[in-house]
């Protein structure tokens, strides 16, 4: 496996990099550690709160025997959780994915638009390429036109996000990507968007259903609505929620202290089981939104709004804007004795979530209605 730096137009050696900041450096360092079985901690170091949290433990404490990677969730729904993986976990996961790729296509490189600070970038963009022994092409910033040019090259496996699929649909290039194949991350891609992409560009998109805590769970292709679990992943449903036992993660997490995880692991995903290996995703636990790939608790946002002077009550609802590149937008209804400004709330959110760009629309002058037990159930305009 080699890394091609598309900005500098040269191959880069897989090597140990202290404090990697660019995508090329992040990938190079992670793959050096994977190749040599060196323990590595993967997280987004540009998030100050997450960085402080991870560094508070010290590397000696975090390093665990036989573990390859320690990935961190963003911590946007509370304290960040660290999830350990052995090299065998990552390798099995990579081969489970490789086995689902079209057998009539031969891939000679991965082109990836994602950073290597999360499980998706490293495990899919990096480890899959390493196991297939093909090159990874990396660029710090992609625009859709550039990705379109690369996707015309035969044997290209594109590791990207639904954002780029939707953007490519919008620019409607007069091109065919029939000799390339696309993988996208968990963020939802509507069946209509996947179908439009397939029909226009003559290429397929495999959507991977995964999380940091569980690793890859299932996949679907183009406008399919049914998710198929990987053969070695056991799935079940309990109280409508997806439960999972997987060989793709170690049963060890960091949650203030290092703990053993009992399987099955209960996710926040609401599902309908169709067969022992197939399910439909109906939604998520209602108080979670997914923004910039991170799960954000709407209850936490409500708490932040209610901490502002003059606010008596706030209700946050998650809206999907099908035309927008962003997946989810927050509608925030506010009962208060003054109008809350967008800028004011933005500043407060920045204190908690750092640079994560949360898109929201404010509705001032509301009354939040509550049930007899005090649960917020809706809103109406004052007067």
């Amino acid at each position: 496996m080699r890394i091609y730096d598309m900005d500098k137009k040269c191959y880069v050696e897989v090597a140990k990099v202290e404090n990697p900041t660019t995508k090329v450096e992040q990938l190079s360092d992670a793959m050096y550690c994977y190749k040599h079985g060196i323990f590595d901690i993967i997280y987004d170091k540009s998030q100050p709160a997450l960085r402080a949290h991870v560094e508070s433990f010290g590397e000696d404490f975090l390093k665990q025997d036989e573990m390859q990677f320690l990935y961190f969730t963003s911590g946007t729904t509370g304290t960040p959780t660290g999830v350990y993986k052995t090299k065998d976990n990552s390798k099995k996961q990579a081969w489970a994915l490789i086995d689902t790729l079209p057998k009539d296509m031969k891939f000679n490189r991965i082109v990836t638009t994602v950073p290597f600070v999360h499980i998706y970038g490293v495990d899919i963009g990096g480890v899959v390429a390493y196991e297939m022994d093909i090159d990874v092409w990396v660029k710090e910033n992609f625009v859709p036109e550039e990705l379109a040019r690369e996707a015309q090259v035969a044997g290209t496996l594109v590791v990207t996000t639904p954002l780029f699929i939707k953007a490519l649909n919008r620019i409607k290039q007069d091109m065919k990507f029939d000799k390339a194949y696309f993988l996208t991350s968990t963020a939802p891609l509507l069946p209509e968007d996947a179908k439009e992409f397939h029909e226009h560009y003559k290429s397929s998109v495999m959507q991977l259903f995964a999380s940091t805590e569980t690793g890859m769970m299932a996949y679907k292709v183009d406008d399919e609505t049914v998710l198929r679990a990987y053969d070695c992943v056991e799935i079940a449903e309990s109280d409508n929620m997806l439960n999972i036992s997987s060989p793709f993660v170690a049963q060890k997490i960091l949650d203030n202290t290092i703990k053993k995880v009992e399987f099955p692991f209960q996710t926040e995903d609401i599902v309908e089981m169709l067969s022992p290996h197939e399910f439909k995703l109906l939604g998520r636990s209602s108080n979670l939104a997914k923004i910039a790939g991170k799960r954000i608790s709407t209850l936490q946002i409500e708490g932040i709004v209610e901490s502002l002077e003059g606010v008596e009550c706030a209700l946050v609802k998650v809206r999907k804007d099908e035309k927008a590149l962003r997946d989810e937008i927050l509608d925030i209804y506010i009962e208060s004795n003054r109008d809350i400004k967008q800028k004011e709330l933005k500043e407060e959110l920045k204190k908690v979530f750092g640079s994560i760009h949360i898109v929201f629309k404010l509705y001032n002058g509301m009354i939040i209605t509550k049930s007899s037990v005090g649960k917020k159930i809706g809103f109406k305009e004052k007067n």
Binding site: K139, P144, E145, A167, L325, H357
Partner: protein
Amino acid sequence: MITTADLKEKLIDGLGLEDIEVDEIGDDMPLFGDEGLGLDSVDAIEITLIIEKEFGVKIKDAGEESGIFSTVNTLVAYINENK
């Protein structure tokens, strides 16, 4: 020739920057990062689509042309050069 005000209007509309007026965005204010407008990488993709749709100008390479995303002034200069 398009003006900075033309572009700002399209950005406010296209990016859903509610509560922000045209004159609140400085011509040389950084579009990205905490010190400026606070846009992110998703907005950058959206900006390329807005510029293509509204002004008929394609941004073909984020690497070589990354400087154009710095401010409204740099974007307007790029659009006018390539229109």
